[in-house]
Amino acid sequence: MTEMLNDVFGQDTRTKAQQLIARYPQSRSALLPMLHLVQSVEGFVSQDGIRFCAEQLELTTAEVSAVATFYTMYKRKPCGEHLVSVCTNTLCAALGGDAIYARLKEELGSDGKPLGHEQTSEDGKVTLEHAECLAACDLGPVLQVNYEYFDNQDPDTASDLVAKLRAGERPAPTRGAPLTDFKQAELQLAGFFEGRDLDVAGPSAAKETLRGNTVAQDRGWSAPVMPDGVLPPVPEKKK
């Protein structure tokens, strides 16, 4: 008869959830960050987590499930301490991403069985996934640990990296904030930095990415200025 309590999600999480809702004019908008918040507590989106979001946002569990099952960043099985995402989209794959993924699969597997997509190594340290484009094609092949970039990888460096992660080390990413763990990263994605605001403040763009800009600055190049007032006609909007 007592109301169903989400014991997993304590008062702190509830407060955070309310803060998320307060950020948006419509409470439903807070669903995406709230699912990250749920992942920061449990390491994945459980049925309890779905119920938690539904209760907080006054949605049905079906509506929350619809969103949680659509996005790949919401994991439906418990994740390890770190999430290793290997880009296997065209460019990275061609540059060696496939080889990295194959190597990590073998190394993280146990009993002669390679690790599959979104599976966790037996020691619970690393969850492996093959990811769609990570938006760093100029630095490929890339992989991410807890969404922090490790650029210009090859099977050996990747293997080394994962070995360090499993040994409890937290190697510094090529750029961006220092490595934490998956749950901590999820909390940041939910928008709670817990005193780490400076770490994630950036800039985290790589030198390679900005090279064109640098060259243009050096040589004084600039794009022609758009003449005022004569914008090309915008195609009429439907409706």
């Binding site: 008869m1 119920r51 619809a66």
Partner: protein
């Protein structure tokens, strides 16, 4: 819309309209109209799956692609005509004139069919399937897809009633949009992504909606099927007969499909003024009660020697009944209880039978808690209600404010609930629920709860929040009263006063389908047909003239009401009873009713199925079920809802025919041999223009206050419960809302049951034990569903809305 007779003539474009060209023809269309509808009005049907006129546009299926040109510039790609609104100067080419549109449609169709199984021969939808039809009309003749089709394990049950074959689904989202927009129960959603995208429910919450059946009907493929109809027959095998739902006073238009003398399914029919295209699950699935094994097929007579009921011929049964009733009439009189589920023809036959054959006004159709105040209200306000002058579904939708008193729309009048929700979504009307807790209906109509103690409603009307009072003064505001109003002293009187003060329209929405018909037919102790007061000599003379009776034949005094009749029978003042389909457990005092029936009076029962009444009767006369007779219901608007015989050739007799023959045996003529004859006879009476029964004037009663030892009971029926008209349909029963007792946390603490899972609500008569759930009820109030447990509120507690009850922790943890 006007069509150009000659292209050169200028078409006048009225205000708020635009002119466009579709397939070379100039058309004028109102601004904001969707292109697909404009084309349809022109006679061009663009194929579509996701588009539904009552749902918001989605553009999900992409089947309705057309070529569009705006301001001389062709749009770069074919556009979905179901999301595109008309614009001035638009030039549209549909598949009829544009090879591009035609190819686009054929392409979309080919993609939709890639994963669609070719199981049309065994699919329920085969033969009435939009996908099948449109694939034949607009699709390619062959598929270029040679790979293996994606399959899913089939089917999955999204509820006990609705089954989903995911591989047949084309992801049009009609079902999810219906459940979100129309019903307000978004328990089905699109899950997963890419090729795995599928409709589904959350793991912990099935598709529990009172309107889930509509998704089956609007599914454009065979993805959603009902457990009750799945694989039962093929659409082209069925005879479809228009019919009217018999379950509530809504009068929804339905279509009954049957074959081989058996109903296979019931669908919603279109009636924009009443139910639009929707019906509730009870109306859709609860039709098996007429074929239950306890259905009465032959008359029965109590054997003089053995004292047991035995089968008899009609001739014998009618003779015995007539003799017994004649004797009883002389020995003190006979009371008539027709029940609240009759057509106007049948109710009229009861009414005339009582007056002509039995010479009495002791007739009351109200087989539920009722009051004298209600009787006056029905005579003064409800009788003669019609959609021209009274409140209609349309009025509810358009009203700026609706105040519901003692009415739980989703449970008691689902059609009204859908209109309230639509009104709020489309027109932003304000809905105020005077009730005890924030029910799902309050949430889904975006309504405001005006909480009060059960029984305090009348008093509360005198101190409405100023906002409500103000809104009710706006033109076209509506006040709706429910069946429960009869249990609240003074509510009818105060509601009338409030309506008069504010100018709001007042309507009464009972639960049963036959109530308005029975009032119109005069199946009440104070009223002759048409609301004519029995005490009014002019009105009596009118009726006597029409019925061909000698002046002064009709009884002049008001008769006894339900409680009066049962009381008089119990203490021997009445010697006989004629009872229609009445369930003893619906009556306010089932104990008294059973005592009356057991008192040795002569009882003639006209019923469909065996019941506690037929078991005690001296003569049992079987009558036709709704599907076996023609008739007319009158819904709460006062709208006549005639329907024809569905299953022909059953030889079952409607009540009016049975009573007519019985009257002949008693040497009286009713002229109600057939429903048509009964209707014509009623029609000869004409409208009543004379005096009416005076309006009630009863002061608001003092409600029971909760105390240290007693809580106050609030109760009403859930839509899907243990009602006998839902028997034989386990899949429907599986979608019922769980039966729980509701009370507030504070109340639970006050009665020391805060930690108990099961609580027992009791009176000196008996008790009901249920799982407890917290809700925002007023302090000291406990809510129970009236008939969702084996122990019912009326029979087990002998109590009703507003009664005092005890609340304790369940003794041994077993639910009753």
């Amino acid at each position: 819309m006007t069509l150009a007779a000659d292209k050169n003539t200028d078409i006048v474009v009225p205000d708020g309209h635009v002119k466009l060209t579709i397939d070379g023809a100039e058309v004028v269309a109102p601004k904001g109209e969707l292109l697909i509808r404009t084309a349809e009005r022109l006679g061009t049907v663009i194929p579509r799956f996701c588009d539904h006129p009552l749902l918001e546009p989605a553009g999900a299926c992409r089947q309705c692609l057309v070529e569009v040109e705006m301001g001389g510039r062709p749009m770069p790609k074919p556009q979905a005509s179901c999301t595109l609104t008309v614009a001035d100067g638009m030039v549209v080419k549909t598949q009829l004139t544009s090879p591009v549109a035609d190819k686009a449609q054929a392409g979309v169709m080919e993609l939709l069919l890639i994963n669609h199984p070719l199981d049309c021969p065994i699919c329920d939808k085969g033969g009435e399937c939009p996908l099948q039809n449109q694939a034949l009309k607009h699709g390619r003749t062959d598929s270029r897809f040679t790979e293996t089709k994606r399959t899913f394990p089939k089917p999955i049950a999204v509820s006990s009633q609705v089954l989903l074959d995911r591989e047949r689904c084309v992801l049009c989202q009609r079902c999810t949009r219906f459940s979100e927009q129309i019903a307000g129960d978004p328990f089905i959603e699109l899950l997963e992504r890419g090729s795995q995208q599928q409709i589904g429910t959350a793991q912990d919450q099935p598709f529990q909606s009172y309107f889930s059946g509509n998704t089956i009907q609007i599914c454009p493929v065979g993805a959603l099927t009902s457990a009750a109809y799945r694989f039962r027959s093929r659409p082209f095998d069925l005879v479809s007969t228009p019919s009217v739902c018999e379950h509530c006073a809504g009068g929804c238009a339905t279509r009954t499909d049957w074959r081989r003398g058996k109903i296979t399914r019931r669908l919603a029919a279109e009636d924009p003024q009443v139910n639009e295209e929707w019906i509730c699950d009870k109306g859709r699935f609860a039709f098996t009660y007429t074929t239950e094994p306890d259905r009465l097929l032959r008359p029965r007579v109590r054997d003089a020697k053995t004292g047991e009921l035995r089968d008899a011929s009609w001739t014998e049964a009618l003779r015995v009944a007539a003799e017994g009733l004649t004797k009883a009439k002389e020995a003190g009189g006979v009371g008539v209880l027709p029940g609240g589920r009759l057509t106007v023809e049948d109710a009229y036959a009861y009414s005339k039978f009582a007056r002509v054959a039995l010479g009495t006004n002791d007739i009351d159709y109200r087989n539920r808690p009722s009051s004298a105040e209600e009787l006056a209200f029905l005579g003064s306000t409800v009788s003669g209600t019609n959609p021209e002058h009274g409140v209609t579904y349309g009025d509810i939708e358009k009203a700026p404010a609706v105040l519901l008193i003692a009415l739980e729309p989703e449970e008691e009048a689902p059609g009204v609930f859908l209109r309230l929700r639509k009104g709020n979504r489309k027109h932003g009307n304000r809905v105020f629920h005077m009730g005890q807790w924030t029910t799902p209906a309050v949430v889904k109509t975006n309504g405001t709860l005006i909480p009060c103690l059960p029984g305090e409603e009348a008093d509360m009307l005198g101190r409405l929040p100023s906002e409500v009072d103000e809104l009710l003064r706006r033109p076209d505001a509506v006040i709706l009263l429910g069946e429960r109003a009869a249990e609240i002293t003074g509510l009818f009187s105060t509601a009338r006063e409030l309506a008069a003060q504010t100018g709001a329209k007042l309507a009464w929405i009972p639960r049963r389908a036959g109530e308005l018909a029975a009032i119109e037919a005069g199946a009440l102790p104070t009223m002759l047909p048409g609301g004519r007061p029995v005490t009014d000599s002019v009105a009596r003379a009118e009726v006597e003239l029409a019925w061909g009776l000698e002046t002064g034949t009709l009884p002049t005094a008001e008769g006894r009401d339900l409680a009066g009749i049962l009381g008089a029978v119990a203490n021997g003042r009445l010697a006989g009873l004629v009872i229609g389909s009445v369930d003893v457990h619906d009556l306010p005092n089932p104990e008294l009713a059973e005592r009356a029936l057991d008192s040795g009076v002569f009882v003639v029962s006209l019923d469909l199925r065996e019941s506690s009444v037929t078991r005690r009767a001296d003569v049992v006369l079987p009558v036709a079920a709704i599907s076996e007779k023609a008739g007319t219901y009158i819904n709460w608007e006062g709208r006549r809802r005639p329907f024809p015989v569905v299953i022909t050739g059953t030889n079952r007799l409607p009540d009016c025919r049975v009573l007519d023959t019985l009257a002949v045996e008693m040497d009286a003529d009713l002229f109600t041999q057939t429903p048509a004859a009964a209707m014509a006879d009623l029609g000869r009476l004409g409208h009543h223009t004379g005096n009416r029964i005076p309006a009630p004037s009863v002061d608001a009663g003092r409600p029971n206050r909760p105390g240290q030892r007693h809580a106050v009971l609030a109760t009403w029926h859930q839509l899907i419960d243990h009602g006998s008209m839902q028997d034989g349909e386990p899949h429907l029963a599986g979608t019922a809302r769980p039966a729980v007792a509701r009370l507030s946390v504070d109340t639970a603490k006050a009665f020391g049951v805060a930690d108990a899972a099961l609580i027992t609500v009791g009176t000196d008569r008996g008790s009901v034990t249920l799982l407890a759930e917290f809700a925002d009820l007023p302090e000291g109030v406990v809510w129970l569903p009236s008939n969702s447990t084996p122990a019912t509120v009326r029979t087990s507690l002998g109590a009703g809305h507003g009664a005092l009850v005890t609340v304790t922790t369940a003794a041994n943890g077993a639910a009753s």
